[in-house]
């Protein structure tokens, strides 16, 4: 049986950095990101108040706590129905009275779920789910900033949050209530409901996503019949994000939930789960906005490895395949993830990937971007990794030696050079014989490399000359043939 574990503590919300207007901006007056940010600070949007044609006037009902038990359910239902009325929050002064009545009703509903037992009887379930659906399910509005960058820009906040928050709170209390009966709920919280819930994760409002995360986690935990479906739909969302839109705001939250789900996977891993790792989680690394959810993604990946060490090779080969070519910031993230992986790798698995892995690490060390080189060289400060390197020194040293030797002589950054000296020293202590041999043969290797390069160029020159000749003779052949045809049937020309 798979049991979802506790959610890891959520990452601290990103600090809102202060900004200053760069002096260049005063010159051309063209607003940059930082300016836009300031202006968007109080940006609100809502698509909630849309489809309601005639507005109903609300009248306050008696308080739940003053009501005799016999009438409690009836009143509870009436309040739920009241809460189905939606209000226009973009116009902040519209129908203030109605808004207040609904707010109070929602507060009361939340309160009564938390305090009084026995409220949740079967006929209430459809009413509750209806109220929740009416309020939260909506097509999210278009982003006010088409090139919204989750790292740079302030998100557009949901204008109807004063009500929406209470509805989410109510939903959460409902799921967490001691009276909650999954067997009754599953009739109303069905696949269609879950699909709509998942789509809300695209909300730009982080407060909404935070609620959704906890709620979906509870749903996953309590409604066993929906688990496979939820996983499949999350897959679809990720695949669409990776291969179609590159845009989905809730990737980090969904990954956080998955992190705890993976933790509960039964062993041996089902092929569905392995497929999810290889075809969804690993390709997620290619996303442009990786930095927004990398911590959660790396957590999921490491969870998989800890569950089942045999997936290690898939993971490392996958990361190597998608290794960033131009974005050094992402390269540093990849290196961080590799270190997390190496921290828990089994030595038997390490041996299987060390070749390709250390070729990539060598490439990182020779990166002109010092942060990339530095991050790679830090691996040698990690005791466990160092022990793995030592065990396999005979394989790894020849792979990285050339790079270390060359970069130590030509890197522009002194810190890198001194880090490399340390690494070289470590290697020397590990296996001085091999180290000396490699030093001695370094020049020879270089020359061989040059020779191979010359041979390649020679080969291609030959091939291209040959191509020219063939094209010529083909051209002649086709001309001859055409002439022949022309002579045979002069009429068939076109």
């Amino acid at each position: 049986m798979e049991t979802p574990a506790k959610l890891p503590p959520s990452s601290p919300s990103s600090p809102t950095a202060g900004f200053s207007v760069p002096s260049a901006e005063k010159v051309d007056g063209f607003p940059r990101r930082s300016m836009r940010r300031a202006r968007q600070r109080r940006s609100h949007s809502s698509s909630q108040f849309r489809y309601q044609s005639s507005q109903v006037e609300l009248t306050a009902l008696p308080l739940l706590k003053d009501t005799p038990v016999a009438e409690l359910h009836d009143l509870f239902c009436k309040k739920l129905q009241q809460c189905c009325v939606l209000f226009d929050f973009l116009d902040c002064v519209a129908d203030l009275k109605g808004k207040e009545i609904k707010r109070a009703a929602l507060n009361e509903l939340v309160e009564s779920l938390a305090t009084s037992r026995g409220v949740l009887i079967e006929p209430i379930y459809p009413e509750i789910i209806k109220m929740i659906s009416v309020n939260i399910f909506r097509t999210l509005p278009p982003s006010e900033n088409p090139e919204f960058d989750p790292e740079e820009d302030e998100p557009t906040l949901e204008a109807s949050w004063p009500h929406l928050q209470l509805v989410y709170e109510f939903f959460l209390r409902f799921l967490e209530s001691a009276d909650f009966q999954p067997s009754m709920a599953k009739r109303y919280v069905d696949q269609k409901f879950v699909l709509q819930l998942l789509e809300l994760f695209d909300s730009e409002d982080p407060r909404e996503r935070e609620y959704l995360k906890t709620i979906l986690h509870r749903v996953y935990g309590k409604l066993l019949g929906l688990r496979a479906y939820i996983r499949k739909q999350i897959n679809n969302i990720f695949l669409r994000f990776i291969y179609e839109t590159e845009h989905f705001n809730g990737v980090a939250e969904l990954l956080e939930i998955l992190g705890s789900i993976i933790n509960g996977f039964a062993l041996p891993l089902k092929s569905e789960h392995k497929q999810f790792l290889v075809r969804v989680l690993i390709p997620l690394h290619t996303a442009k906005s990786l930095s927004v959810f990398h911590a959660q993604l790396a957590y999921c990946v490491v969870q998989f490895m800890e569950k089942d060490a045999t997936v290690t090779e898939y993971i490392i080969r996958g990361l190597l395949k998608f290794w960033p070519k131009t974005c050094t910031q992402k390269e540093v993230m990849f290196l961080g993830e590799i270190e997390e992986i190496l921290d828990v790798i089994e030595p038997s698995q390490f041996v299987r990937v060390q070749d390709s892995l250390f070729k990539q690490i060598a490439a990182c060390i020779s990166s002109p971007h010092f942060q990339v080189a530095e991050r790679a060289l830090y691996f040698w400060n990690n005791e466990y990794i160092l022990s793995l390197i030592e065990e396999n020194c005979h394989v790894i040293l020849p792979l990285v030696f050339g790079t270390l030797y060359r970069v130590s002589k030509e890197h522009w950054n002194q810190t890198i050079v001194s880090l490399i000296y340390n690494v070289l020293k470590t290697f020397m202590e590990m296996n001085s014989k091999l180290f000396d041999d490699l030093t001695a043969s370094y020049k020879l290797e270089k020359q061989k490399e040059l020779k191979r390069e010359r041979e390649r160029l020679e080969l291609w020159r030959g091939l291209e000359e040959q191509q020219q000749r063939r094209l010529q003779s083909l051209g002649e052949a086709s001309r001859n043939q055409k002439n022949l045809q022309d002579r045979e049937s002069p009429a068939s020309q076109f």
Binding site: G29, R279, G462, L463, Q467, L471, L474, A477, K482
Partner: protein, 600 residues
């Protein structure tokens, strides 16, 4: 390889033996090089390798290698997928083209969309080179395999292949293809349904009309009410093709219910799509349905609660009105469309207003002079005063439409403040945009109005603090001179331009030189020699080196306008002096000018 298309296959094979010096292993090593960049280069020259191997060994050795070892970086796979689409001649012509199917089939199943799409594109291309028999024996089974693949990628690829084989296969196979397409339209994975929905229109076009009605319509209806809006919106696109295929009398029952539903979809993305495709839809459904259904639908879209949708609809206002049936067009516009348009002029969203501003002037030709003056002019004037510069700019950039109908004079009093404000906008891109319309405006407003109101603006741009503006201002002057003539130039702008040669700011002094570069040709020999040349020559003594080397460049530029006498007696000595300048760049450009003008 196309020039070589058509040689008979035996001849090529015969030529093989002679110079196939290269063992396949060496070539394959190139395709396996550890360095991705080198591997990529090799793949991009795959045709060279194939040519070296000859058609037979390409078929028997190279292609199997490529099929078996497809696990590489997507970049390499993309190049491979593209190459294989042009490989027919290299495997021995159409007779053997099916050899290319196995590697392309694997490529059509990879995860990366770009690679897969390219593989499908190549497959579509080579499908045309298959004989009908080969198509049934080799190609169609591949499509079937893809359509029933386990992972969604192969099924999405299949969607793009049905329409290329359908017209050329037997009716039994046709029935199978239709069945496969049906299955994919209700696939479990939304990605596949999206792929199917996006090919629905294309597939409908190759089907027999009866099957369009019996097969495509139900699929269309189902996709248009899919649970995911990303699928539903693709059905809108298909709607255009489907409506074009059906006879008018069937549209009402088969297409319109779905289209009406889409125009009122609860997702703004779908409504946006309807708005975006509105002109196409209008053409596809014909005038009657347009009058009865599309007009109210269009009104609703113009009043949509989501700005995105309103902007898309606003963009279509002119086209929609233009394509209305001529009888009753004016009435429809005046009673149904114009009231909505009026509201959009004061929309809260600037994108909506600016979308409208980019097309609204076009209505004047449709509505004629009187209506324009009475109804449209107030709107133009309101938009000319809009707070958003983009809106004003869009109006100004379309002035020519109104000019034809009512003449620009009607607007000139309101135009001027708008232009002046844009000319001084804080954003340099806005200033740049208005400069670009200056010659047009000058032409329409006439020289008097220009001299009186706009000339000073044009001169002010010459000292703008952004280079791009100064550059554009220079170019603008040239166009004005082309319009108003050399005499006008000599009286109005040349003195001012030359005056800047004494400015304390070296950037302004250089602007004089840039202006002369641009103006000399339009002004002609006399003005150039008499007025401009002395100033340029004098500036060769400037203390700033940048000015001096620009003098050299300027002389090189205006040299062809001058007569030989001036060149020899005036230009040459100065250039010689500059060629001995202590600054390296000055020397360089002086020498260049000397050699270009052949003064050495």
């Amino acid at each position: 390889f196309h020039p070589a298309a058509g040689p008979s296959e035996p001849k090529m094979a015969g030529a093989d033996g002679d110079d196939s010096l290269y063992p396949i292993a060496v070539l394959i090593d190139e395709l396996r090089n550890e360095d991705v960049q080198l591997r990529l280069n090799s793949i991009k020259k795959l045709s060279t390798i194939a040519l070296a191997l000859g058609v037979e060994r390409t078929r028997t050795e190279l292609l199997p290698f490529l099929t078996d070892t497809i696990y590489d970086e997507d970049e390499v796979l993309l190049a491979l997928a593209e190459q294989l689409g042009n490989f027919t001649m290299l495997v021995g012509g159409p007779e053997y083209v099916h050899c290319l199917l196995p590697p392309l089939e694997s490529l059509a199943t990879v995860e990366e969309t770009v690679v897969r799409d390219k593989a499908v594109e190549s497959l579509r291309k080579i499908s045309q080179e298959h004989s009908p028999v080969d198509l049934e024996v080799h190609f169609e089974p591949l499509v079937k395999r893809l359509a029933s693949g386990d992972w969604f990628t192969s099924r999405t690829s299949a969607c793009g292949l049905f329409s290329v084989c359908y017209p050329r296969v037997s009716s039994t196979v046709k029935a199978e293809i239709r069945q496969h397409f049906r299955t994919l339209c209700s696939d479990d994975t939304p990605m596949v349904r999206r792929a199917a929905a996006s090919k629905l229109g294309e597939f409908a076009k190759v089907l027999e009309l009866d099957y369009v009605k019996s097969d495509i319509i139900p699929l269309f209806t189902a996709l248009a009410s899919d649970e995911q809006d990303s699928v539903r919106l693709l059905a809108v696109e298909a709607c255009v093709s489907i409506a074009t295929l059906l006879p008018q009398e069937d549209l009402e029952t088969l297409v319109m219910p779905t289209l009406r539903q889409a125009a009122e979809d609860k997702s703004w993305r779908v409504r946006y799509m309807v708005a975006d495709k509105f002109s196409e839809l209008q053409k596809a459904v014909g005038p009657e349905i347009t009058k009865n259904d599309l007009v109210p639908a269009f009104q609703n879209l113009l009043k949509d609660c989501e700005a995105e949708v309103r902007a898309a609809a606003a963009n279509k206002v002119k086209e929609f009105c233009e394509n209305l049936p001529e009888d009753g067009r004016e009435t429809i516009i005046m009673t149904h469309i114009l009231p909505c348009v009026k509201e959009l002029v004061s929309d809260t969203n600037q994108h909506v207003k600016s979308a409208l501003a980019s097309v609204i002037m076009g209505l004047s030709t449709i509505l004629g002079k009187d209506n324009t003056i009475e109804h449209l002019l107030p709107l133009f004037l309101a938009q000319l005063k809009d707070e958003c510069p983009e809106v004003r700019l869009n109006i100004i950039s379309n002035l020519d439409c109104v000019n034809e109908v009512i003449g620009i004079r009607q607007l000139s009093q309101s135009l001027l403040p708008a232009i002046v404000e844009l000319a001084e906008d804080a954003k340099w891109r806005v200033r740049l945009a208005i400069i670009e319309y200056m010659p047009l405006l000058a032409g329409q407003l006439g020289v008097e109005f220009f001299d009186e109101k706009l000339n000073s603006l044009c001169m002010a741009w010459l000292v703008d603090h952004v280079y791009a503006i100064r550059e554009a201002a220079t170019c603008n002057l040239m166009k004005l001179v082309e319009k108003f003539g050399a005499e006008w130039a000599q009286n109005t702008i040349v003195p001012k331009v030359l005056g800047m040669a004494n400015d304390p700011n070296y950037l302004h002094r250089m602007t004089t030189l840039f202006c002369i570069n641009a103006l000399s040709e339009a002004c002609g020999q006399e003005i150039t020699t008499k007025h401009m040349l002395p100033v340029v020559l004098k500036m060769s003594n400037d203390q700033v080196a940048n000015v001096r080397f620009n003098v050299a460049k300027c002389l090189q530029k205006i040299g062809p306008v001058l007569d030989n006498n001036a060149l020899q007696t005036e230009v040459k000595p100065v250039l010689e002096k500059l060629a001995a300048d202590q600054d390296m760049d000055v020397k360089y450009f002086a020498q260049e000018a000397i050699s270009v003008l052949a003064l050495a």
